[in-house]
């Protein structure tokens, strides 16, 4: 479903801030894979997602989504294959627009935007039913501006928007990191439910090792722009936080102490 071939990305090349964010990465995801990505700060976790989404062009290599080579395709055109949820709850939704307008924008992802009315009566009913599945009471506030919602509500809405029009791949970029623990747990639960129901292929970056072990069928660990660990199946189910920490230290020769506070 997703194939990343030999992809390299360097930020600020030729300057003192030069940073090789992705170093000849090779990565392949089967349809239905739910992969969690962990790693220290600057390991390249989010960079893999942004490279897939086409936020900027990669330096070399190829990115193939469902057999389509999308390496040279700009972000807005690639969007038709991708559902995305960001770390910052403010990024995923348009604050000045109504809940139903946001959903209508998302529903038309990958389709031509014509001079037909932006939100049709028929789809309102559909949105209402979809919002009910979030169990946040948003179905009664469909014409409220999204800016009035809490971070957790906005993240849940973004998740719904990302999957309203079933994407080939769902990209989750630490989408619970900015939420309080209770809300984060709820949004994660919702994530699992939606991925399960729609049988999505998903890629989830997280700082939380426990979450990375508990969710998905495959786990990769990154360090310095490389994938240093790739575990799936039964082996993944038996993973422990201690084992991952140990792996990290031996593979990278560095301490994970920076992130220790976030292990949960």
């Amino acid at each position: 479903m997703l194939r990343i071939k030999n992809v390299t990305k360097t930020f600020n090349p030729g300057t003192i801030n030069e940073k090789i964010a992705l170093n000849r990465i090779n990565f392949h995801m089967k349809p239905g894979d739910f992969v969690t990505i962990i790693g220290g700060n600057g390991a390249g976790k989010s960079t893999i997602l942004n490279a897939t989404a086409g936020v900027w062009p990669v330096d070399s290599g190829e990115i193939i989504i469902d057999g389509q080579n999308v390496t040279g395709i700009p972000e807005y055109k690639r969007a038709k294959y991708l559902g995305r949820v960001f770390q910052d709850p403010m990024i995923g939704t348009a604050a000045d627009m109504e809940i139903e307008e946001n959903l209508a924008l998302a529903y038309r992802r990958g389709k031509r935007r014509t001079l037909k009315w932006g939100v049709s009566k028929k789809e309102k009913q559909f949105y209402k039913e979809q919002l009910k599945t979030l169990e946040l009471g948003l179905e009664d506030r469909m014409t409220a501006k999204v800016g009035l919602l809490s971070g957790g509500q906005r993240q849940a809405l973004t998740l719904l928007m990302a999957t309203l029009n079933t994407p080939k791949i769902l990209l989750l970029d630490e989408h619970t990191a900015a939420l309080d623990p209770k809300t984060a747990a709820k949004v994660l639960e919702l994530t699992d439910k939606i991925i399960e129901e729609k049988q999505l292929t998903a890629l989830m970056v997280t700082h939380n090792m426990k979450d990375a072990i508990l969710h998905g069928n495959r786990l990769i660990m990154m360090n310095n722009g490389k994938i240093i660990l790739d575990i799936d199946g039964e082996e993944k189910k038996n993973l422990t936080v201690e084992y991952l920490l140990e792996k990290f230290v031996t593979a990278s020769g560095e301490d994970f102490s920076n992130d220790r506070a976030l292990l949960g």
Partner: protein, 306 residues
């Protein structure tokens, strides 16, 4: 002529500039771009309309051409901004300067008369009642078209572009194209107001757009301040901008009537706009000061709880 005799004329001028302010609203409020193209494109609209009418073209076709010319100026600014990566405000200034030359070339000189007695114009200050009706119709039609357009799928995606670029791209919206379209629509409307102004005052002048952006912003702000409580619907918001233009020109007339030096008017307009633009920031500054003052108490409470 007393102050009351001057009011109808002020309302007419206010409607013309209110229409221009609706164009400014599209870039400033919807696209979140301060577009300085308008200082030039209003004159482009006036120049194109005037020259075509003088050379015998039908007035309606002349006005349509003025709108299209204005839209092109907006597209140029949009291209500078999106294709060349020039900051929007600078892109507008560049187009404005280009238009200074182009407008002179279109008119052949700095000022062109468009006499209502000689040419079949659709409004003139010599018949203010008629002018008011024509301008009211134009304002309502423009608002109706914009209300429809920004409710469509395409229009919604432009609103989303102005609201959140990241989200828009993630939802498959071509944000660069949308910015160009939005700037084109805005400057098309601005040029329309220029075409109307040339007919109303009976001439097009190279300087007629100087400071237009400030008048436009003033009208947007006045409309927002006075009507924000009732203006929740998009059409009503646009209507309040038009009223903002009218109020601006009535105040303008009153100030002149009171004997203020007219040389100072542009400065006063700019200062008033600066003040209103600064209000949100000042509010934040003051709010955080209050917070700082109350912080020690909060800390004490926190400690007590612990």
């Amino acid at each position: 002529m007393g102050i009351f005799g001057a009011i109808p004329g002020a309302v007419a001028q206010g409607l013309i500039w209110g229409l221009m302010a609706i164009g400014v609203y599209i870039t400033y409020k919807i696209l979140d771009i301060a577009d300085l193209t308008v200082d030039g494109s209003i004159c482009t609209g006036a120049a194109v309309c005037t020259m075509l009418v003088i050379s015998g073209v039908n007035i309606w076709i002349a006005m349509l051409c003025a709108v299209l010319a204005g839209a092109l100026t907006g597209a140029l600014t949009g291209a500078f901004h999106t294709l060349l990566g020039i900051p929007a405000i600078l892109a507008g200034i560049l187009t404005q300067l280009i238009l200074w030359s182009l407008n002179l070339k279109i008119m052949g000189r700095a000022n062109q008369a468009l006499s209502a007695q000689t040419y079949p114009v659709i409004l003139t200050q010599l018949n203010i009642t008629n002018a008011l009706i024509v301008l009211a119709i134009f304002t309502i039609v423009v608002i109706a078209i914009l209300y429809w357009f920004f409710g469509t799928e395409a229009g919604s995606s432009i609103r989303a572009t102005g609201c959140n670029l990241n989200m828009s791209r993630a939802q498959g919206i071509n944000t660069n194209l949308n910015k160009i379209i939005g700037l084109s629509i805005s400057n098309g409307i601005v040029a329309l107001s220029g075409a109307l102004l040339a007919q109303y005052q009976g001439f097009a002048d190279i300087n007629m757009g100087r400071g237009a952006i400030v008048i436009g912003l003033a009208a947007v702000i006045i409309g927002e301040v006075i009507f924000s409580r009732i203006a929740r619907n998009f059409a009503v918001k646009l209507l309040s901008v038009a009223f903002g233009g009218i109020i601006y020109y009535i105040v303008y007339q009153v100030v002149i009537f009171l004997g203020l030096d007219t040389d100072l008017l542009k400065m006063l307009s700019a200062l008033v706009v600066a003040l209103f633009l600064g209000v949100p920031h000042l509010r934040k500054v003051f709010a955080s000061k209050f917070k700082n003052k109350s912080k020690p108490q909060e800390e004490i409470q926190d400690n007590a709880e612990n």
